[in-house]
């Protein structure tokens, strides 16, 4: 479904990604780990289409090269980025935001707007999934939300939009154990044979709840090691230094 080939990215002449190769198939969960500054969040932003990065290479997704598309076109195609730092948007209610998003995507797909009843039913169902207080929906997007509420709101949006590819950018950072469990439960519920997830994380602990099929280590803009869930545990125990040395020795 997703095939990243020799993806390079820089921002203002600073090279961050130095040739990423990664293939994700339907039904898979990939975890991307790595030390600070390795390029994990850049990878997420580049996939979602943030234009402050200059990217080259190809990112084939459902038959199209994502790099040719605007962020909204990627969203319509089924790419969803759960932001590491969800943005506060005063004056736009969470509900209005979601309705606009869903209907923009439907419009791009040539579908009619979702009827209000269906929308409300879905809001009710999905906010229950992430245990998000319904009152938050009438508030402005993320404004005055706690850290945990913001992250749960991201998963809630993901549940509402039902993407093909969910990219979670350090969704676990700053979460207490209860919130972590709720977020993981959300992802596990959404996961099926017809979608896929990329989980970007610093720590192994989220992977106790969301079991990845593959674990990749990103360092200095490249994937230096791939393995299964055991690799995450090894990293937890040994840290990244042994891999760094291994990578630099090559």
């Amino acid at each position: 479904m997703l095939k990243i080939t020799d993806l390079k990215a820089k921002v203002e002449d600073k090279v961050i990604l130095r040739g990423i190769n990664l293939e994700v198939k339907l039904g898979e969960i990939h975890a991307i780990m790595g030390p600070n500054g390795s390029g994990k969040s850049t990878l997420a932003s580049v996939l979602a289409g943030k234009d402050s990065y200059e990217a080259e290479g190809t990112v084939e997704f459902l038959g199209q090269d994502l790099l040719d598309l605007d962020p909204e076109e990627r969203a319509a195609l089924g790419v969803f980025l759960a932001f590491q730092y969800p943005v506060e948007i005063p004056g736009v209610s969470n509900m209005n935001f979601l309705k606009t998003a869903i209907n923009s995507i439907r419009k791009q797909k040539g579908q009619d707007p979702m009827v209000a009843k269906e929308f409300l039913a879905r809001v009710k169902e999905k906010s229950a999934l992430v245990e998000l207080d319904a009152a938050l929906n009438s508030r402005s997007v993320n404004e005055g939300f706690s850290g945990g509420e913001k992250k749960r709101n991201e998963i809630f949006q993901m549940a509402m939009l039902e993407p093909k590819l969910g990219i979670l950018d350090e969704t676990d950072s700053g979460l207490d154990i209860d919130a972590l469990r709720i977020v993981a439960n959300g992802v596990n519920t959404l996961k099926n044979e017809d979608n896929a997830f990329i989980i970007i994380t610093h720590y192994q602990r989220l992977l106790d709840y969301i079991i990845p099929d593959f674990v990749h280590v990103l360092y200095n803009g490249k994937i230096i090691k791939s393995g299964d869930k055991e690799l995450a545990k090894e990293l937890e125990a040994k840290g990244y230094d042994w891999l760094k040395e291994e990578a630099e020795a090559v």
């Binding site: 979602a48 289409g49 943030k50 234009d51 605007d70 962020p71 909204e72 990627r74 969203a75 319509a76 969803f80 980025l81 932001f83 969800p86 943005v87 506060e88 948007i89 005063p90 004056g91 736009v92 935001f97 606009t100 998003a101 869903i102 923009s104 995507i105 791009q108 402005s140 949006q157 939009l161």
Partner: protein, 422 residues
């Protein structure tokens, strides 16, 4: 500037023994002493009128407006008074409320012919015509305007919409309004300023008297052409227990200067001042506001918001003055701006001058760039760039727009705000 002076004496002038004679003579004398403002004057530091001084403006005739439907507020049942080039167009106006026991809605000229008592009692009572040069010029030169007097204990449901249109090249107009809200009355008034064709210098002056327990909401919509200049003076006096609100929306125009002065001369008053300016090109809009808290237990709240695009310039100077006697005053003032480009400019100066010791007052000003992070966030959720920008700008404007209590008017303003983004 002499072009603007003494071109006409259509109504009420020296020697005609009319109701307005004394006020006009006072204004004329005042003009001998009042100097044309330059950037050396503190109040005009950021707004130069040189271009106005060097332009030759001419008076225009009463023409028929062909775009009136665009200027009206759709789906709003209202008393509509139409002025073209400063002349009242009776033919194009619609006055729904003719019961003079409740309200008088009249052109100044007609009121003068009727020897309207309230016109003689209140015209010039704010004193602006001797203190402020443009009001003085207006007083001397005005051809016509609107008199609204709401009688005691009367609620006027349908808004009164005054549409000031100019049509022609470099037309000068001096619309003059007097609104008197009688005790315990309620009324909503809208003034809009439109260019049907060409360019103009509109020098508008409005006096508003709000008597005890009355409520008056005033909306000013400025949408003239980019070649046009407008100076708009509004002077309000509030008596005990009154509510007054003014919302000034500037969506077009070349050079606009608004002077708003509110004398809160009573106890337990509520005063609200809202403003929104959406600028592009080389537009220049300057909002000067002055709230004078003279008596005790009053509340004033001010919120002005602006979005400056291209090379446009915004100026906000809001002053709240709290007299020694005005204890228990609550005054809040806020000015927020977004600069869309590096070339756009805002000069923001909120000011508080407080002599009472038992008050609650605050003021603040923020200026920021357009939030690119928020834009990306919305786009990443599937919302196209144009809609996302619109959503963000509407959100920014929402706390001003939400105070427009006439739904049809709010819709029109929102549409104008959106149009000014393109």
């Amino acid at each position: 500037m002499e072009d603007l002076l003494l071109k006409t004496n259509d109504i009420g002038f020296v020697g005609d023994n009319s109701l307005l004679e004394n006020t006009k003579v006072e204004a004329l004398f005042a003009l001998g002493n009042l100097k044309f403002p330059t950037r050396k004057d503190e109040a005009w530091k950021y707004t130069s009128l040189k271009s106005v001084q060097n332009r030759k403006f001419v008076t225009g005739d009463l023409l028929k407006s062909d775009k009136l439907e665009d200027f009206k507020v759709a789906d709003m049942e209202a008393n509509v008074l139409v002025f073209v080039n400063g002349h009242y167009s009776e033919e194009q106006s619609t006055i729904l409320e003719n019961n003079t026991d409740k309200i008088v809605i009249s052109s100044l000229k007609a009121a003068l012919n009727d020897n309207n008592n309230e016109l003689s009692a209140y015209f010039g009572q704010t004193g602006s015509h001797t203190e402020e040069i443009f009001t003085a010029l207006n007083t001397v030169n005005t051809k016509d305007g609107v008199l609204i007097t709401v009688k005691e204990n009367t609620v006027i449901e349908q808004p009164i919409h005054i549409i000031n249109i100019t049509k022609g090249t470099d037309i000068v107009a001096h619309p003059r309004n007097l609104f008197v809200a009688g005790e315990n009355s309620m009324v909503k008034i809208i003034s809009s300023y439109e260019t049907e064709e060409g360019s103009s210098f509109t020098n508008s002056a409005t006096e508003i008297m709000v008597h005890k327990n009355a409520m008056l909401d005033y909306y000013v919509l400025q949408n003239e052409s980019v070649e046009s200049v407008q100076v708009n003076n509004v002077h309000v006096i509030q008596k005990d227990n009154t509510n007054f609100s003014i919302t000034t929306i500037t969506t077009d125009g070349g050079l606009v200067r608004n002077n708003l002065k509110i004398e809160v001369d009573g106890k337990h008053c509520e005063t609200k001042l809202y403003g929104l300016y959406f600028l592009r090109g080389t537009q220049h809009v300057d909002n000067h506001t002055y709230v004078d808290h003279i008596d005790t237990d009053c509340m004033s709240e001010e919120l002005y918001k602006g979005v400056m695009n291209d090379q446009s310039t915004g100026v906000f100077n809001g002053k709240v003055f709290v007299h020694r006697e005005a204890q228990k005053t609550n005054a809040f003032q806020s000015n927020k701006n977004i600069l869309m480009t590096d070339e756009a400019t805002i000069y923001s100066k909120p000011e508080l001058e407080i002599y009472a010791d038992d008050v609650k007052c605050s003021h603040g000003s923020t200026t920021g760039q357009f939030d690119e992070e928020a834009l990306f966030y919305l786009r990443a959720r599937g919302i196209d760039e144009t809609s996302a920008r619109k959503l963000l700008v509407d959100a920014f404007a929402s706390d001003v727009l939400n105070n427009i209590n006439i739904p049809a008017l709010k819709e029109k303003v929102e549409a104008r705000v959106d149009a000014s983004l393109n």
